[in-house]
Symmetry: C2
Subunit: 114 residues, 2 copies
């Protein structure tokens, strides 16, 4: 499959925010309502609602109403996979290529000084 799946890239962009990632990480553990996040994140209620609205408008989460509570839950199946990657330990970097594939020569990465 080709890369430019606009929706997924949009989703990734929305996900890639410290507060929203913490929200999503919590939701990955189970349903939570707004006031839960307020305590947990230490940010204002309107701000929590704003982040939740953004995630909701992108179809990443949804909620149902229980009295005056709104119980949020995860919808987008990509999210747990992203969270797994963020928690994964990576040792070192990818192997550097031997040389320039165009000219078949060139200085090696380690040789650069600048």
């Amino acid at each position: 499959m080709a890369l430019p799946q606009k929706n997924k890239i949009e989703t990734l962009r929305v996900i890639a925010h410290p507060v929203r990632l913490r929200i999503l990480d919590e939701l990955a553990k189970g349903v939570k309502c707004v006031s839960d996040f307020e305590d947990f994140l230490g940010i204002s209620q309107p701000n929590v609602s704003q982040h939740l609205a953004l995630l909701r408008n992108h179809g990443i989460i949804d909620y149902y109403i229980d009295g005056r509570l709104r119980c949020y839950f995860l919808v987008d199946p990509m999210v747990p996979d992203i969270l797994d990657i963020l928690k994964k330990e990576y040792a070192g970097t990818l192997p550097a290529p031997a040389c320039c594939p165009i000219t078949k020569k060139g200085k090696y990465p380690g040789d650069r000084t600048n």
Copy 2:
């Protein structure tokens, strides 16, 4: 491990851009230089260089010099994993929770009309 690994979140944020993802997807296939991207992406050379600089400054890619070419390559091992997820086909959504875990009752998601 706890979620807030600031570096990885920053990396994710930088990655989550349509042009940069296409760059990274190309680099995942092999070394490329700036003019390759210029053709491939159909954007201006300065803009290509800016995206490359951003990725470079975050340690996501690196390059080596071969004459007047700069041969870029992938460094961050998280990138291929992210690309895999973006290419993965997801069928449907995550299962909705049965009810509110706090009050043990509540309207179900499908029952909402608004």
